[in-house]
Symmetry: C2
């Protein structure tokens, strides 16, 4: 029996980096529990190890996150000093707690988010405090009987109204945190006012401690390695553009190449997925960016909303690339001769499209109007036209011209020239799909070009040094015509 159990119970724990261990069970119930406990411990140790490993990778991938943590620790340690210094403590008393609390809840990763919370917190506290004191004065005039009723009703009404305001999108985007702080402060003031006579002093204390906390946060977040939401958004859009170009390159190369696919090509192809999933990140960054003061190359009134439009047009391209990607894995493939025929044209069109995307990425990165974007767009359109021409002349001249000997006979047998055999449409379907998606992608890249031009206009990008930007060329129209 014990033998049977021992053969059944065999715990194998794989500790990453360690060796695989086989835990031999001891006989009896105690032994089983011991083995079970050891197993549980092993799993817990393994999970903690996994989390730590994960944390290490996150820290290595973006050291600014580690710096952020040090900044939070620093800000908290500084604000704790207020407690330890007796003269300051005697001034503020228990209210110094609010400074600590402010630092904890207000300190965010980006400068913009910290500003958003600080400004919301200060204004909401001030407004709610003033309103609370006002209602308290009114309630005091009404006598002891009515006072709690008036206060209760006012808390109910204002809390409900402020809560509802958080559902309105425009309020939610800018003042969500402020609405919460408003409810909090208003409730606390009107409730505690029932007891505390020195309401004005309390309000003054709270406001000054919050001011200390917020100004400390703003100082620490701006002075030590600041992370600007605007810069992050700027880089995200720039990176997404490059990823999109790489994906397009990867997909077309993968489709037309003759050997098996490589690992890094496949990885490159997946870049468009980041573009598909970055909507939420872009929106929150754009929301925070507009709270940020002038920094580096960005003004206070930098057109952050236009970045969202560029992001949307990039996602528009990414949808097409997603469909293109699925064509690659399709099982029915066009005859090799046909693929060869289109290979050059398609590669050319895609490489010119990629050139446009990369040029746009450089425009955004350098924040300078590109001197040759219009030329590149014209090149792309020309390559697209060639592709369309190739499609037009497909079953007649070109195809026969390029196919020779065996291939030509095979093609003829397959009904390329309209014989009684199964039509070429189904044979060329995946290829036609790829080509038509290439055309569509070029059209959508036109949308990205327009969005970036609009950004350049709104943000008043300067012209690049190597030449003047040529605007209003007919090439713009060509792009949107397709």
């Amino acid at each position: 029996m014990a033998n049977k159990a021992s053969s059944r119970l065999e715990w194998r724990i794989n500790v990453p980096g360690g060796t695989s261990k086989v835990l031999e069970p001891e006989s009896g119930a105690v032994g089983k529990i011991w083995v079970g406990l050891k197993g549980c411990m092993g799993i817990i140790v393994w999970k903690v190890w996994r989390v730590l490993e994960n944390a290490w990778h996150i820290g290595v991938a973006d050291p600014r996150k580690v710096i952020h943590c040090i900044k939070v620790g620093l800000a908290l340690s500084i604000v704790s000093l207020f407690y330890y210094m007796r003269p300051l403590y005697d001034d503020f008393g228990g209210n110094a707690m609010w400074a600590v609390m402010t630092v904890v809840v207000v300190f965010e990763y980006t400068v913009g988010a910290t500003f958003y919370k600080c400004i919301n917190r200060v204004i909401a506290t001030f407004l709610a405090g003033a309103l609370g004191v006002g209602i308290h004065l009114v309630a005091e005039q009404s006598g002891d009987q009515l006072k709690p009723i008036i206060l209760g009703i006012s808390v109910f009404l204002f809390a409900s109204a402020a809560t509802f305001s958080r559902f309105i999108p425009s309020v939610k985007a800018r003042f969500d945190y402020g609405a919460m702080i408003f409810i909090l402060t208003f409730s606390l003031v009107s409730v505690s006012g029932y007891r505390v006579v020195e309401l004005f002093e309390l309000a003054h204390m709270r406001l000054s401690t919050i001011a200390i906390g917020t100004s400390l946060c703003i100082l620490v977040t701006m002075l030590f390695c600041p992370v600007w939401a605007g810069c992050e958004l700027h880089h995200l859009i720039h990176q997404n553009m490059e990823k999109l170009a790489d994906s397009l390159d990867g997909c077309v190369t993968e489709y037309f190449k003759e050997n098996g696919s490589e690992e890094d090509l496949k990885k490159k192809m997946q870049g468009y997925k980041c573009v598909l999933n970055s909507k939420a990140a872009e929106e929150s960054m754009a929301n925070f960016a507009r709270w940020e003061p002038t920094h580096g190359r960005f003004n206070f009134r930098h057109p952050w909303k236009q970045y969202l439009k560029i992001g949307a047009s990039l996602r528009n391209c990414a949808y097409c690339i997603e469909t293109l990607n699925s064509c690659i894995s399709s099982e029915i493939q066009a005859p090799p001769c046909l693929r060869k025929h289109f290979s050059n044209k398609c590669m050319k069109a895609s490489s010119y499209s990629i050139n446009v995307l990369k040029e746009l990425a450089i425009t955004i990165m350098k924040m300078k109007k590109s001197s040759n974007i219009d030329i590149k767009v014209a090149e792309m359109n020309f390559a697209v036209e060639e592709l369309v021409d190739a499609l037009k002349s497909l079953p007649t001249t070109h195809f026969i011209a390029t196919t020779t000997g065996e291939e030509s006979t095979k093609a003829k047998a397959e009904g390329v020239e309209g014989s009684e055999h199964p039509s070429p449409i189904i044979k060329v379907l995946p290829l036609v799909k790829v080509v038509s998606l290439m055309l569509e992608i070029a059209t959508r890249i036109g949308g990205v070009v327009n969005a970036v031009k609009e950004l350049a206009r709104l943000a008043e990008f300067k012209a690049a040094k190597d030449g003047k930007p040529k605007q209003n060329q007919p090439t713009d129209k060509l792009v949107s015509d397709h």
Copy 2:
């Protein structure tokens, strides 16, 4: 001069629902200021009016949001009673503030979110409090000189570590709020411990007031019209499925119909955009749903993660429909005769695909295994096969058979049968694109079918009453084969 100014300054304010007013300026600087002020006031009134109108629409569209606001007001009013009742106040003193604060920050729209915050807050407060008291005891043993240093360093270390943990995705998804409360409580305890001797009593007070606040929140959120995150997610997925079906229907109808498009058809076609944009909402709801206790038809361990997979497969379809949608607005269109030829086949394939989507939507809504999903999938596959066959025989038999008289001559002149004229490929390109997208959409619907079947297995859906579900039919394979 005054005349000139009056002709320049003419403020026209459009109040929605009101009449358009022309404000006549008065002469002189005072007049200008007055006019300016009136203009500003007008703009402010108009903006406030817009916000109110917006709020009204939000309230009418989803009355549960209004109920949520009333619930917040109610919870706050109840917790305020603790202040007004003298015996309770004498017990808790100033600490009753924590109960109010807890209600304000913890009360969320869905039950799941409220549970998430409550549980995080209670556990984090307990852990941080215990740790804070422990470190405080250690510091006390080390003498007055070392004490602030030990406390300061511990605040720095624990705050940094907890802040970093918020960057780890698995921690962020479940314990983000808890990490913040941990930092808050730990800082407050270790800092205030420097002054307050009765640390244990303080900790006890804080814990009990937080317990009062959280239990009140949980009671109010669960007893009065609860909004379950799980139900919301369930409905969102169901709705998105229906929207996708409608979009597909709208796109195909719009493409093949002969008259101009109607307004409501266009609106219907845009449904896929909701599917594209609902990733963030789905993820947050799934995060909150797993904190919810058993409710209605959902267990505590309902497979919410599977809903995310269904959502992803729906988005997969939506990408294709997005591309399909762009085909409709394409300027180059296939010859009418060809479109007519494919119209029936395509409409059939799309209507069967829509049937499958609608059946899946019903499966999800009723939470019962569908008895005829396999039949519907088989029908869809059959229609898709027919479409492929139609494509195969396009330039030879079918096309000639369906084109008559003038159309046939026209088609011949256009080189459909491989004459020297421009090839048919470019002419049929948009049509071929639509057809190939239809095929791709059918494949991706197969992915949705599999995801829903997996959900039915994991959540142990019961069989529908009108028959037994037929599993493992060859139809499944057909879907994934395309």
